[in-house]
């Protein structure tokens, strides 16, 4: 039972639900307007953490480079964090790789040191209109009120994880989902669709014949991922099947009989906005003060999630209509319309 917290400490200007890249950028953007911003994360240890793909931009032609430049101009945090030593590296072909762990830690440090941002561990379970604003309740019965809410719940919204043997509710492997929140959004009239993503395998670097820290094998590219555990991320067409099958496939592909897979590929599906739910400022149609960002809004990669976070966080707190650079606008329009899936402008073509 929710114990309504009558306490001014529970009142905020903005509540951001989720602390992945979208949530973090939204929180920082909101706080940048001087707004008291609560940022709820299911697990404070996973703030900002890219769970899957370490690739923030692939090759020199990836338009995400442009997006990052736009983000930097708009005062977004990600480009600044990426310039920290040990957070990212650029490959010879222009591919930008994140050190996922260090990027997450950098975002965590940022949230915890940005004035007006209040990070808090909590699982939001319901969202309701209240007194002209919003009331967010958590599983543990905490209640918070705000004028605006940014939903940036990533793969956790109605998340389901399929590890090739079992389908379980989960935001990621080994993490709980946000199912009640999904139902709550439905209750206030938000239409959502189920979208999918695949978390690709990781290999033990020591077992692969790497050249300059990477390896090309068939349609796949193995890239350094996880400096601490010395793993390689397997990038390429989705791979599926039982773990043993995946391992055999990689061993065949690379010709290395002893290649070792530390993490197998698994499928995630989750809920995201259907078309027409938000406008170009990412505000919910007919529900003023409610914004969506990141995968919850329909974007499908880390960089674009960060951009939408900044847009949503700024829109939630700024009284002026912000004019964004062309590419950012294009991304937001794609999200608003959801005409094609996956929603991305990273290259002029399909794929994520």
């Amino acid at each position: 039972m929710a114990e309504f917290n009558d306490n001014p400490a529970a009142r905020f200007d903005t509540i951001v639900i989720g602390a992945g890249p979208a949530g973090c950028e939204a929180a920082v953007a909101s706080a940048g307007q001087g707004c008291r911003t609560l940022c709820l994360a299911i697990n404070l240890d996973n703030i900002g953490f890219p769970p899957a793909n370490p690739i923030l931009a692939e090759g020199a032609d990836d338009r995400r480079h442009e997006l990052l430049a736009d983000l930097r101009e708009l005062g977004g945090a990600l480009p600044v964090l990426l310039s920290q030593e040990s957070v990212s590296r650029s490959l010879a072909d222009g591919t930008l790789l994140a050190d996922r762990r260090n990027l997450g830690l950098a975002y965590k440090e940022l949230l915890e040191t940005t004035p007006e941002v209040f990070p808090r561990q909590g699982l939001a379970t319901s969202l309701e209109r209240s007194d002209g604003g919003w009331l967010v309740t958590t599983r543990l019965g905490e209640s918070f009120t705000s004028a605006s809410v940014v939903v940036a719940a990533g793969t956790f919204l109605g998340g389901e994880v399929d590890d090739g043997g079992n389908k379980v509710a989960g935001g990621r492997l080994g993490e709980i989902p946000a199912n009640s929140l999904a139902m709550s959004l439905r209750d206030i009239g938000i239409a959502m669709v189920r979208i999918g993503a695949v978390n690709m395998p990781r290999m033990a670097a020591a077992t692969l014949p790497l050249v300059d820290d990477s390896l090309l094998a068939g349609a796949y590219r193995f890239l350094p991922d996880g400096a601490q555990l010395s793993e390689q991320y397997m990038h390429g067409p989705y791979i599926r099947g039982a773990r043993a099958e995946q391992l055999d496939a990689v061993r065949d592909l690379t010709g290395i009989a002893d290649a070792w897979m530390t993490r197998a590929a698994y499928d995630i599906t989750c809920l995201a906005l259907a078309g027409g739910q938000v406008d170009r400022q990412l505000e919910a149609v007919g529900l003023p003060g409610l914004y969506f960002a990141g995968r919850s809004a329909g974007s499908c990669n880390y960089t674009e999630a960060a951009v939408t976070g900044l847009v949503a966080g700024s829109a939630a707190t700024s009284h002026e209509l912000i004019k964004y650079p062309v590419l950012v606008t294009k991304l937001c329009e794609a999200i608003a319309s959801q005409k094609s899936r996956p929603v991305t402008i990273r290259i002029d073509g399909p794929g994520c």
Binding site: N43, N46, T113, Q121, G174, R243, W260
Partner: protein, 619 residues
Amino acid sequence: MGGSFDVAVIGGGHAGCEAALAAARMGCRTLLITISLEKISLMPCNPAVGGVGKGQLTREIDALGGEQGRNTDHSCIQMKMLNTSKGPAVRALRAQADKKLYEDNMKRVLAAQPDLMILEGQVARLIVSRETIQGVELTDHSRIEADTVVLACGTFLRGNIVIGDLKFPAGRMGEPPAMELSESLIANGIELARFQSATPPRIDARSIDLTQLAIEPGDDRPEAFSFSTTVLPQNQVPCYLTYTSAQTHEVVQRYLHLSPIKTGSVSSKGPRYCPSIDRKVINFPDRDRHPVFVEPEGLRTNELYLQGLTTSLPVWVQEKVINATPGLETARLMRPGYAVEYDYAIPSQLDITLESRVVRNLFLAGQINGTSGYEEAAAQGLIAGINAAARASDIDPLILKRSEAYIGVLIDDLVTKGVDEPYRMFTSRSEYRLLLRHDNAHSRLSPVGNRLGLVSDTMLALVHEQETAAAELLNSLAKISAAPNKETNSFLAQHHSSVLKENQTLLQLLKRPELRLADLLEAFSPVARSHFTLDVINATEVSVKYEGYIARQQQQVARSSQYEETQIPSTLSYADISGITLEARDKLARMRPVNLGQASRIAGVSPSDIAVLSIYLRR
């Protein structure tokens, strides 16, 4: 899948990491399986390693070639030797650690270890055939073949989080529990019971004025856990101390009916020595204040751990309790405290080697055996890993005696006496605590580690070097004299010691309780002071000051060694022995102690039963 392993370790926490590293270092093809590779060697509770009893365990882990001591040194943000004004038996090292650094450092060590593979996966079932482990099956139905398995899955087995009147399945906050493995354990004859553990809230450092709290600094000249550590990280940070007040207790009292202790939604035992504030207010009503240590969780975070305010009261009550505590009136919660209930495997079902007595080649280590604490877990993990490797390599297992190590005390207590609450190590658990000291752990155990291949010859040589230096220092103390002059007597007066009327050697002066060897050397032989390390000076000092007591404990060891060394054949039929009670017969048959000493510690076996058994064995 992936071929067969010599040792498979389930769980990448403190126990699992030690087990995996030890087995790989002993040359076994080893696999570490854990639910999330992002959460290796997590410190989900106190951001600290060591303390009274625990510090001795960590030191011994280092002496044997385990990793916890080294890892702690590399990630420490404060180091403190406790009880320096008390006897050497209770002197223990305690470190505050940067949690993220601790995890990352351990990950690097695992990744760099030859013969060790890591796998992200969740174990659902043990594969057992003819009462012997064959491997494990994961939730995705993959099968891993292994000759031996070490089970070190912490608090995840059928875990439930309890806060106020809320109860929901979880291994830790935000993480689902492991549901299937418990069934598999039960199906294979392993008896489980329930314990609970709890963690306090974390607050935002920006929300309080730290200058209002008392500072608890680390040591000026910090020591290290590991022999291999030459330099400790330079950025030491202080902890802070405040106390609860009558007002705090009043708030707890007002809402105590909402505590799981009162509502009964948690019925299992929690750690006695880590009580919640709810428990403290109930059990200690005349205490007008309890200490609250405010501990930073790392260098790059503003999360502060509130040691002393562990609770599973509803979150909104937690906030009221914190804000009613002096110094924390404006504190903002970042994470709530909570309790977690979980399955553990009754440890008296284990052999003294930590091998299960119902499933051959299966070893259990860590919180799953009913212990609490990272150090207790790591110590068991090290031994389980060593013994799994020993079994896979067909060599003798390692059994440490109670007189050799706290690790020996820990395992003997668990296996012989079982547990009725989460077990935490204390120096008072050892009858030989004057012999099992921080300063002599490496002398005791590094030769053992070296024989196993876990301690290098170079490291062992360093240990011997230090022993030689200590002997040299001891020798020289008898040869350096202090004359009864003005300087000497002024030094003595300064240290509240009586004046000299005639020459005395430093050895004689050292016997005075109020004089410390480091000070004596600085005053009377500065060359010696700079020549010998602090470790050597401390070790020598103890051997002189406590000579009599040490000798007495060594005699005790000799006397009881007769029982410790009288082996009991594993095939002995207790039913054939007349003159022992039915209860003793039943307990002995079930527990299968390996020697008379262990037998004598089993509850329900009396001295006269031991006497009868002793005579029977001699025939």
